[in-house]
């Protein structure tokens, strides 16, 4: 049975591309949410095997959403990989320090994205 990934990103186009990439090339089952609140609700309702979480979103941003996932008993154990287009210094390290499984920079190559996700999720737990 395919692993189920929840993608939380406010950009419609990116949600579509990531979904196509992971489903068609990686064999994942992808659920999507357009913001942090919707994502938290979806994760609680049906906990996925992993979450792909955009950093910059209006309303609740990625790190806040991540904190709420960790705060809830139902979602605490779900591995999370962050997607970021932010360019500030030490962004990657800052995110890893929060306890996420990995960080993927935008833009990414959709052909290698499933492979990147798989490697991050099967790698060492933080």
């Amino acid at each position: 049975m395919s692993k189920r990934i929840l993608l939380i990103d406010d950009e419609d186009d990116i949600r579509e591309i990531v979904r196509m990439s992971l489903e068609h090339l990686g064999g994942y089952d992808v659920a999507v949410a357009a913001d942090g609140a919707e994502g938290l609700e979806a994760a609680r309702r049906r906990p996925p095997d992993a979450v792909l979480l955009d950093v910059m979103m209006p309303g609740m941003d990625g790190p806040t959403t991540f904190a709420k996932l960790r705060a809830s008993e139902a979602t605490r154990g779900i591995p999370v990989v962050m997607l970021t287009a932010k360019v500030q210094a030490n962004e990657r390290q800052r995110l890893l320090d929060l306890g996420v499984h990995g960080v993927i920079d935008k833009p990414f190559d959709p052909l290698t994205l499933p492979q990147q996700v798989t490697q991050l999720l099967t790698g060492a737990a933080p």
Binding site: D13, I14, V18, Q88, K106, P107, F108
Partner: protein, 687 residues
């Protein structure tokens, strides 16, 4: 005694100049001490009374005295400058002069002197004239005085027999003494006249020697005297000026100018002023003149001293011009310019400096620049003068350029400035320093805005690029189904250029981060071969695609560097080399240890870099050929980033001339261990 006297030769007037001199020891029993020729010369020089004519006149007096009193010995001695000597004598051998003089030394200043029988007078018991063959028994003397009553000498009679003088004899002796005194007074007048002549000659010599014109004129304004310089300055022959009006030496209304200048001198001052002089030929010139007035025989005498100041005025004009020019330059300079003396006190400041410090120039001059305006860092911590570049300039004469430091105004506000500190040298020794400052607050604000702009724009670009790149990637990867040949090719082109655009944005961001100092270095010990291997791995795919072989020659050494950054720099150099290599070409990456540096070299077999472009290629968006950025899909930022990274590590990077045999880039990184290695950051191979 008579017989004895008769046996003596008849007294013969002898003109003898005294050769014996002795300190005046009036009242002493012993004879004066003979001093010799040198003391005599001193006494002679001190007395202006001695001269050949006087000697002759005294010879007549001593001769007459000997005859009148019927004595064998008569002498006139003189005293001056505490020495006395025999000026004229009859009846004594020269060798006896000093003994004769000893009689004179006993004569009081204002009384006659007589000894009837010297043999009974103990004062003369040792006198050879008394005890010897001359056998002087009697002595009578009259003191000689000058017109002012000063004692000048003695007229003395000596005899071999005891005798006394009658009142008439004393009168005669007094008359002879008066005669001698009048001769002395005449001699004094001659001496005074000679002195006056000498003084006049001296004054004339001075008048002739001075370069200034010196003239005298009376109330009538006519010249009474003029020194030679006057003739030279005004173009007149010697003597031609006397009797001419002094006003004629000035242009315009000379009389009024002279009157104005002379008028002030009556009040005791010595007024001087600049006027226009007029030469005999009508030409004019600037003249500085001072007039003093004195009274001579109840007549006013004006003395004018004048100097041609043509040269001085010309020099002054030139100096004024230079000063004005310097002032204009200082005033017009956009940068603040401040001069310091050796102690760091402000000696001058231009208006831009005053504006910068929100004060006026007088508020700056005299202040200690560092103590008043440069005393603290921005966070308020003290900034010792000894740490300030301006102090090092004053101490060692070093030039310093500082890109950003804080200066303080009197109101407590501060501003960021870029400044240069240069020494003021005089004969190679430092006499001060000049600081040029520019307020960089605006520049800093612009840089901050630019940083934010670049950051925001880059982020906003990334989001749509992610969609474009993703959509194209999925299309090109056949996720949507296999594309027809031409369509697949077009999608490949779109993917390649999207990637290039992404690289460009990443490059801009990298440079911006490094230049703004937002990312601190994370130095660790890295083996050189690891660094080289990582860089080669990063470009392996591109190299294989371009059919270029990469050869690596590492060295066994370690470097304390931020490994990711150095790999980034080497990757940029390698991908650059691959891009410009022909298919089948070889790119070599080698390392050697040279002294205290590791020298990394990247060479390729491409077309190389022209000599005039060796430095330019490190500038942003500058490539050897403007078309390269399109053909080679480069960003134009790779080498600029590489240079930035290497320089952040205290290293150097440069391109070398190769005479067209491909390009050669070199990187030199210091081997030395930095003092502040991070804890736990151990050098490989050490415990």
């Amino acid at each position: 005694m008579e017989g004895d006297a008769a046996q003596l030769p008849a007294p013969t007037p002898q003109r003898r100049r005294g050769m014996i001199t002795a300190p005046v020891t009036r009242g002493m029993m012993t004879a004066p001490v003979t001093r010799g020729e040198q003391a005599w010369q001193a006494a002679l020089g001190a007395s202006a009374l001695v001269g050949a004519p006087l000697e002759e006149r005294f010879a007549a007096i001593t001769g007459a005295a000997a005859r009148l009193f019927d004595v064998p010995i008569a002498l006139v001695s003189l005293v001056a400058a505490d020495h006395h000597w025999v000026e004229s004598c009859v009846g004594l051998e020269r060798s006896e002069f000093h003994a004769g003089l000893s009689f004179c030394s006993h004569v009081p200043d204002h009384a006659t002197f007589v000894v009837s029988d010297t043999r009974r007078d103990r004062r003369f018991s040792g006198n050879t004239l008394v005890t010897g063959k001359t056998a002087v028994v009697f002595c009578a003397a009259w003191p000689l005085h000058g017109p002012t009553g000063r004692r000048l000498g003695t007229l003395c009679l000596l005899d071999r027999r005891p005798r006394s003088l009658s009142a008439a004899d004393w009168d005669t002796l007094r008359d002879l003494a008066r005669l001698a005194e009048s001769e002395l007074a005449g001699a004094e007048l001659e001496t005074a006249l000679a002195g006056q002549r000498e003084s006049r000659a001296r004054a004339e010599a001075v008048m002739s020697a001075v370069p200034n014109a010196i003239v005298t004129f009376g109330e009538d304004g006519l010249l009474q005297s003029a020194n030679p310089a006057t003739g030279r300055i005004f173009g007149y022959a010697p003597g031609e000026l006397l009797g001419r009006p002094v006003a004629g030496l000035l242009a315009g209304d000379g009389a009024a100018q002279i009157a104005a200048l002379s008028g002030g001198s009556d009040r005791g001052s010595s007024p001087h002023g600049e006027v226009v002089g007029a030469r005999r030929d009508g030409s004019t010139f600037p003249l500085e003149i001072a007039i003093t007035t004195s009274t001579c025989d109840s007549q006013s005498l004006h003395i004018a001293i004048a100097q041609d100041i043509t040269m001085r005025k010309a020099v002054q004009r030139e100096l004024d011009g230079l000063r004005r020019q310097n002032q204009l330059i200082l005033n017009s300079a956009g940068r603040a310019i401040i001069g310091l003396d050796r102690d760091g006190l402000i000696t001058f400041a231009n208006p831009a400096a005053a504006e910068l410090f929100a004060t006026d120039i007088h508020g700056l001059v005299g202040q200690h620049l560092h103590a008043r305006m440069h005393h603290s860092h921005e966070d308020g911590t003290p900034y010792p003068f000894e740490d300030c570049p301006s102090w090092r300039t004053l101490r060692d004469g070093e030039h310093h350029h500082v890109t950003d430091e804080v200066f303080w105004r009197a109101d407590g506000t501060c501003f960021h400035a870029e400044y240069a500190s240069s020494p003021m040298l005089d004969d190679d020794s430092v006499v001060g320093a000049v600081l040029t400052l520019a307020d960089i607050s605006e520049r800093r604000a612009v840089e901050r805005m630019k940083d934010e702009f670049v950051s925001v724009v880059s982020h906003e670009l990334r989001t749509p690029l992610t969609s474009i790149r993703g959509a194209l990637g999925l299309l090109g990867g056949g996720v949507m189904g296999t594309l027809p040949g031409q369509a697949a090719k077009m999608v490949d082109i779109a993917v390649a250029n999207t990637d290039r655009l992404i690289r460009l944005i990443n490059g801009i961001l990298d440079l911006e981060r490094m230049e703004s100092g937002h990312v601190a270095l994370q130095p660790r010990w890295n083996s050189v071969s690891d660094l080289l291997q990582h860089a080669v791995d990063a470009v392996r795919g591109v190299a294989e695609g371009a059919a270029v072989r990469i050869e690596m020659r590492p060295v066994d050494a370690t470097l304390h560097v931020d490994g990711d950054r150095i790999v980034h720099a080497l990757t940029n150099l390698l991908s650059n080399a691959v891009k410009f290599s022909p298919r089948g070409g070889v790119v070599e990456l080698s390392a050697v240890v040279h002294d205290d540096t590791v020298l990394l070299t990247v060479t390729d077999e491409g077309r190389g870099i022209p000599d005039n472009m060796l430095e330019v290629v490190f500038e942003r968006f500058r490539q050897v050929d403007a078309s390269d950025s399109r053909e080679k899909a480069g960003t134009g930022l790779g080498l600029a980033i590489a240079r930035r990274i290497v320089e952040e590590h205290g290293g150097r990077i440069w391109a070398e001339a190769t005479n067209g045999t491909g390009a050669c880039f070199r990187v030199a990184l210091p081997l030395s261990t930095p003092p502040d290695s991070a804890p736990g950051d151990r050098r490989p191979g050490t415990s």
